[in-house]
Symmetry: C2
Subunit: 324 residues, 2 copies
């Protein structure tokens, strides 16, 4: 099962969405046009619009409101990516130089703000006030989650509960918003709104845990070395949190000391990974992701069978099993 | 006439506004609390909330809606200041180290996003959809104006029309939003909404032109040297634009060449300032600011006399005559 398979029931809507979204990005400012053209060349996986359309389809007939919702979340998501590039001091994204590497932080911050306001304007123009309520709440949780992660990365310990709060805020919030907005765009049934909101929240948790596991299990194509970006950024994620809880206090302290030290060598990384593996961190994290995916699937119980529902069920499996 | 004098008719509202605004800034994230406490220690002039309350008072009775509007614009303004600190790579603001200098760009971008979303949430919670329409439009213009200025700063020429478009977008847009929101908070009369919107737009233009003039005429307290921050950042503003239009083409080219050169010496700055003075740039810019202030005052014709109206008239004069 691939993302393309999952999108099949709403493929025509995703196709139609392209020119609609590009139109939204128009600006009278040449520099902005240039940056935006550059950005939209690097087309993403479009997970978020796909989720809006699937959630819409599972509750009713995909229509203009669904497209407005999809445009809104994609604008917000793009804005946060642009700001993330500043935040992470990233030099590339999706294999291309990031905007801030090419145009400096200045432009990245301003383009992000422009995209954010553009997303709001679409909602206001179309009087989609529920969309506004949901997305402004999601943006707040996004920024708070990232800030909590920064705060915690300076401390020596982090427990599973705090970890889940962080990933809920920084990842699940927007995925949940996509699904709820999709539902609202095609039905007034509040139970269905809640079902899709819950589905998005739990799929989001599973998705992010899988991401964090992949950081431990993937190896870079060129050098075959572990990716371990999170460790290099001193981010402590679920596999390591669990491994520490299983190991002796002294060994755990020693490992965390390595992660937090200024000079993290390749040997350190190999040692940390072996520690995580030995203490069952990877297996535990995958197990948790599976549990969350199952809760997500269960949330859809109240909805009748349909190709879109089948896709959402499959997307929950995909979020746990994907290899990139 | 000082800002405090201008604020007299709405002083009690500004006082009440303080705890209300602080409450809005609460967060469960300790790092965010810390940054926000740091920020609110450096209390600004509160021009924007004061304008909301004056515009509200001139149209009716200041009330809860006016306070919500004031909180919204102050949150957005604070968000843009935090983002501006990244944008300008500024190391201080109001005499204190900027957030990004203390906590890095990362935190500054995220705190800005948090404040932006907080502003939206207040409006959504209180179903103030007109406030949302106005402010999201203003944020869009703000970011577009800044980006246009960056774009133009790379080019060798800029005309008065482009300059006015930039300052209208980056400064007048939010001041106009403050005044319109204030009006909406106390009356349904669309003519009054327009009167206050226009007032804010033209006062905003006058205010920014005065700012740009002060950059030429102020001297730093410590060294007595010209401030000339704009020139150091290669920003070409109205005094220089006009001076170039009056001088011979060759001389103007030479001066612009100096501004754009990588090494701008103190001698260059003295030469540019003498050029601007000699060609009447300062006087012309002040004259334009006065014209805009007069248009702003004229916009208030339809409103009955009141202490608040007197203050708004005085604020227009203040925006042209202020010395800091």
């Amino acid at each position: 099962m691939t993302l393309t398979d999952v999108s099949t029931p709403i493929a025509s809507h995703l196709e139609e969405f392209q020119p609609f979204f590009k139109e939204m990005l128009r600006s009278k400012t040449a520099l902005l046009e240039l940056v935006i053209r550059y950005m939209t060349r690097r087309r993403g996986k479009q997970v978020r619009p796909a989720l809006v359309f699937l959630a819409a389809a599972v509750c009713g007939e995909v229509g203009r409101r669904s497209h407005i919702g999809a445009a809104m979340v994609e604008l917000l998501h793009t804005a946060t990516l642009v700001h993330d590039d500043v935040v992470d001091e990233a030099d590339e994204r999706r294999g291309m130089a990031s905007i801030n590497a090419v145009w400096k932080n200045k432009v990245a911050v301003l383009v992000g703000d422009f995209l954010l306001s553009r997303g709001l304007i679409i909602a206001v123009e179309n009087e989609e006030f529920d969309f506004l309520r949901i997305t402004s709440g999601a943006v707040r949780r996004l920024s708070e989650g990232e800030l909590l992660q920064i705060q915690k990365s300076r401390q020596r310990s982090i427990d599973e509960e705090t970890y889940l709060r962080i990933i809920s805020d920084k990842t699940a919030s927007l995925i949940s918003a996509c699904c709820e907005i999709g539902a609202i765009s095609t039905t007034r049934d509040a139970d269905k709104h809640k079902a899709l909101r819950d589905y998005g929240e739990y799929v989001g948790l599973a998705f992010q845990i899988r991401d964090d596991v992949l950081d431990y299990t993937s190896r870079s194509k060129v050098l075959g070395k572990p990716v371990a970006n999170d460790l290099r950024e001193k981010k402590i994620t679920l596999p390591l949190i669990y491994a520490c809880s299983q190991a002796g206090t002294k060994e755990a302290k020693n490992i965390i000391g390595m992660v937090k030290s200024k000079k993290l060598t390749d040997e350190n990384i190999t040692a940390i990974m072996a520690f995580v593996e030995r203490n069952g961190g990877i297996g535990y994290a995958i197990g948790r992701a599976r549990e969350f995916a199952a809760i997500a699937q269960k949330s859809l119980d109240i909805l009748p069978d349909s190709p879109a529902k089948k896709s959402l069920m499959a997307f929950a499996d995909y979020s746990v099993s994907r290899i990139k």
